[in-house]
Symmetry: C2
Subunit: 363 residues, 2 copies
Amino acid sequence: MANENPSLSERKKLILKAIVEAHIDGGEPVGSKYILQNTLMSCSSATIRNEMAELEQMGYLVQPHTSAGRVPSEAGYRFYVDSLVEQYAKTTHEVVQINHLLKAKMSEIDQILETASRLASSMTNYTGIAIKPKASSVTMSKFELVSIDKKQFAMVMITSSGAVKTKKITTDQPIPDGALLKLSELMNLLLCGLSADMINLPIIMEMENEMGDAAFLVSPAVKCVWEVMSDIDGGELRYSGLNHLLKYPEYSDTQQLGQLLGTLEDQDEILDLVSETEGDDISVVIGSESPVKVMNNSAFVFKPIKKNGRTVGVIGVLGPRRMNYRQVLKTIEEIGGSIAVMFDEEKQLKEGNNRKGDGDGGK
Amino acid sequence: MANENPSLSERKKLILKAIVEAHIDGGEPVGSKYILQNTLMSCSSATIRNEMAELEQMGYLVQPHTSAGRVPSEAGYRFYVDSLVEQYAKTTHEVVQINHLLKAKMSEIDQILETASRLASSMTNYTGIAIKPKASSVTMSKFELVSIDKKQFAMVMITSSGAVKTKKITTDQPIPDGALLKLSELMNLLLCGLSADMINLPIIMEMENEMGDAAFLVSPAVKCVWEVMSDIDGGELRYSGLNHLLKYPEYSDTQQLGQLLGTLEDQDEILDLVSETEGDDISVVIGSESPVKVMNNSAFVFKPIKKNGRTVGVIGVLGPRRMNYRQVLKTIEEIGGSIAVMFDEEKQLKEGNNRKGDGDGGK
DNA sequence: ATTAGCACTTGACCTCAAAGAGTGCTAAAA
DNA sequence: TTTTAGCACTCTTTGAGGTCAAGTGCTAAT
């Protein structure tokens, strides 16, 4: 297939590499003069031109038009990539961060909001937005430990708001018989009702003390609890269906679109905008009614999602100012309503339970 | 604030509404003649022009330039939206679907892939892609039921691949004492090792028979199991960081960008492209090397994610053909490696366990 | 084999005029 | 007093023509 690769002279390789990298960098055709200046070549531009002409004949370069510089062809990129492919090496530094992020799971609310955003986008053909404001003061109301095998168990946590969280925990040593039962009793006794910052060293030490020879289980378990609780906190903004915006000529100016997206990335501005608008009902922000300047040509329809009276998120739709408000309003109302119903069902059941048998895991 | 709203004559309202809707539809300034033709107005264009002039003076309309039609101003949209806001009503038909989608949770693999895609995008400044191919033959290896309150319990399921799934189940009637224990025994006995399509009516009937007066628990529980198992199946494609593409002049042509995104939405083409390329290693598809025509100016770097020897997903980066291959290759390799390590840890632990004590939840 | 110099090609950019769309205004009609 | 018809006016859009700069290919000299 690519049989002539080895037949490239060293200088040709150097020139090809220089062209590819220059083009990657700048995006424009690169001329002989540019190469001369940006690489340490001991020859003139004419020589480079000759080599370039040959490289073009071989199929590695392409001229967009007669008097433009050269651009790498597919084969050119292919050669570059193939000769590069052995070179990359892991930078262990970044790997740690990757690992951390990968292991962080999505919370339940996150998932609902994400799905809602996706839904809103696909139903309206605009961009769906989901915002999770900074929540706080989550506590656990019940723990349950489920053995998976000798060295693994799952921790099931039920939060004060009734959400069920699962974490899988892996230990170095085999788990002694009965240790899980003991640990779960202990956690239900000591950790229920505590917010993340109330779990401190004395509590952990007491737990380790009580656990005896299975004390090694305490640290990872508590760490898990802590992670889950802090996972629930933290404001975030998700959007989906950006591609829909491209259909509208308002955003054919890539500049503006880029700015708008930048604003979305920033998050803070949108979060401000949303938190400014109080009330449970659906809101419509049109153009410069918002403090965000970039949104001059856009409109933003959104609705807070309440759970037990507290705002747990916002879902919405972002589109051109001339968006189909009728449809969007309907859709957001529907999705918001659906989520509210979901939460309401949970709430009613919990209240019913509180009235009948409170304090089953009491502290 | 908007005090003069009621002072609009009926005809003005009608015209304003027509202009807003025409503009929503077409995106261009709308002239008097157009309105005359597209609404059933019994007057001439001159009359409409007069009204439009007045509406403009009132601030509801705006002329981009002297000889263009009118475009609704912010106030115009505001008036339209406000007068519309009471009108939207729920179409209960769609609500059902919304509910269904909202309640579907993300699987663990999904979350990892999603995070990976996000990571890849933010680390490379191109578009991150995560693909979950059609998986199959998931079975459950253990069930555990955890009571939440009188009418709610959580079902913890451990799949054959070791993933932990949780579903919360809400019942109409209070759950009899001991019923959960019985049900969990029954499920562990009858459902372990079965794939989704092997759970059939006879099994369910036997379970209901065994459960006696708590038979009402069986149906929702089995349904849940089934949902979780089919949630794990099904190919899907996620991408994130589309906005990064806007930075590159290759995609400043909104047309092309739109087509490319359309291809991504289609999913099938990309799924084909990926499944065609076999092997564990990182792949680079440059431009028209791929069968997808739209990708002429683009390149796609991806790597399959294996778990226990089976491909469970693909992560990758999509960008302009002149992407920074060095960086992208490195990043994908890193993320892929991190995921592999995560899976490997799980695998090793499971194997260690299998050797020592297999069949703890045996059937 | 390399280099210097020059003619040549071609897209980018600017200007200008013609065309087209839609208005505002005025005067007549209802 | 309100509506309508007609017409001049304004402003964008489009395409043609012309200049400019970039970068090449080629030839002749080193």
